[in-house]
Symmetry: C2
Subunit: 257 residues, 2 copies
């Protein structure tokens, strides 16, 4: 069966897109087939995988909005790495919150749109924007699991409360099957007291300690350089810490399934 996984945290810049791209690619290296759905209007997961976002191209916007014309096949792009496909995003996606405010089943648009693809991939990974708005709710409505990257910095730790509240509301009202599979520390640098402090808080806080993955994503310049190269780090430089950390995450994710 296909595992449908959201990657979310309202805090900006915590490594959501990096996790979507690099976990996706690492799973492909482990022999899985992966579809990435980019639900962030900033479309960094789309461009980060080498797919150029043009004004007129088909995207997930077409699949969830009332004005959309394209089919799922139009919005589905293959990447250079066999087994790794993407449903592209587009800046127009930013208008959905207002466009769908009175629409029927506004939360379930994405779930209905990607239904035909469930079963065709081992894993579907959904990127989210840094907010808890309708786009993120759509993602939570169709996902079975959530992975939460938590930058080892105070603002990111503080953002977990709001995220867990929102997930609780979604479980109660829209998708009871939604489950938080894990919390993954990111941007960890063991030389920095701030990072060690936040990691310690994650390990001891009653709300989070049971969800904490063993894998820690370290702060790593190769991850940033790979994003500039438009390649996942496991295909960019396999010997780097970034590639090692994301390979470890892929394996722990598969064990947790």
């Amino acid at each position: 069966p296909t595992r449908i996984v959201a990657v979310a945290n309202e805090k900006g810049g915590v490594g959501k897109t990096a996790m979507v791209i690099n976990l996706g690619a690492a799973l492909v290296k482990e022999g899985k087939t992966v579809l990435i759905v980019d639900m962030d209007p900033q479309h960094n997961a789309t461009s980060g995988l080498g797919i150029e976002v043009a004004d007129e191209m088909a995207s997930v916007y077409d699949l969830i909005s009332d004005e959309g014309e394209a089919s799922i096949a139009d919005a589905l792009f293959s990447t250079k790495w066999p087994g790794l496909d993407v449903i592209a995003s587009h800046p127009d996606l930013a208008g959905t919150e207002v466009e769908l405010v009175d629409a029927e089943g506004r939360e379930d648009r994405l779930k209905n749109a990607i239904q035909p693809l469930v079963g065709k991939y081992d894993v579907i990974i959904l990127d989210t924007p840094p907010s808890l708005s309708l786009l993120t709710i759509n993602v939570f409505s169709c996902a079975d699991e959530v992975l939460v990257p938590c930058q080892t910095q105070p603002y990111s730790f503080n953002a977990l409360t709001g995220l867990f509240d929102t997930i609780g509301e979604v479980q109660a009202e829209i998708n009871p099957a939604l489950d938080i599979t894990g919390l993954i520390p990111t941007f960890f640098d063991r030389r920095l007291r701030v990072c060690r402090d936040i990691l310690e808080r994650l390990k001891t806080d009653e709300r989070y300690k049971g969800l904490l993955f063993n894998t820690i994503i370290r702060s790593n310049i190769t991850i940033a350089a790979s994003a500039e190269a438009g390649k996942p780090v496991v295909f960019y430089r396999t010997s780097s810490f970034g590639a090692k950390d994301y390979t470890g995450l892929a394996r722990e994710f598969l064990m947790a399934g």
Copy 2:
């Protein structure tokens, strides 16, 4: 006259809140009076200045929503540092996009709300969430100037196009006086090729080079540590790179006025 300055970039985690807090504090050290308005529902500028966000407290949400009851005096908090005040944010702010979708003058709510305070401070600095939604449009409607922190990473550089487009639309339709005062590179580490590459692109790109400030905010662990301590870096450790960079930014900002 009061300078009203928005700090904005749709990309998450580029140092918007760090700039609001640290520029604000550095201006106070230069003898100015500063009001910070926190328009991000994540309320990091509010908590980052040591003000605890509680469920029932008054906030900017009360000032811009139809359901709000509090007055501006209720939502205005002084910080430990004389001359530095804050209009607090609150998680309820996240609901404004939907609540105000059909409301009269939805873009001008903040402008009208803070009108009584214009003239009472030398500078008013507005923090924004990582999106180009109604909250950010409200900020652009009441500001005269925009400072754009640009993390020296590819996704942040790519986000400038969308931001400049949105600012252009606001200038055409809502606030012709709005002006981009400057672009400030953040998280700069001269050892990293990615950072040097992006800085070079900022310096040579026709759209941005004329707006680029001389001040560069370096990647600096003291800035992160000061955020954990709930203090601006210029009051946390004056000898740090972070304090030096933000003091330089305050002086360049005052010269550009």
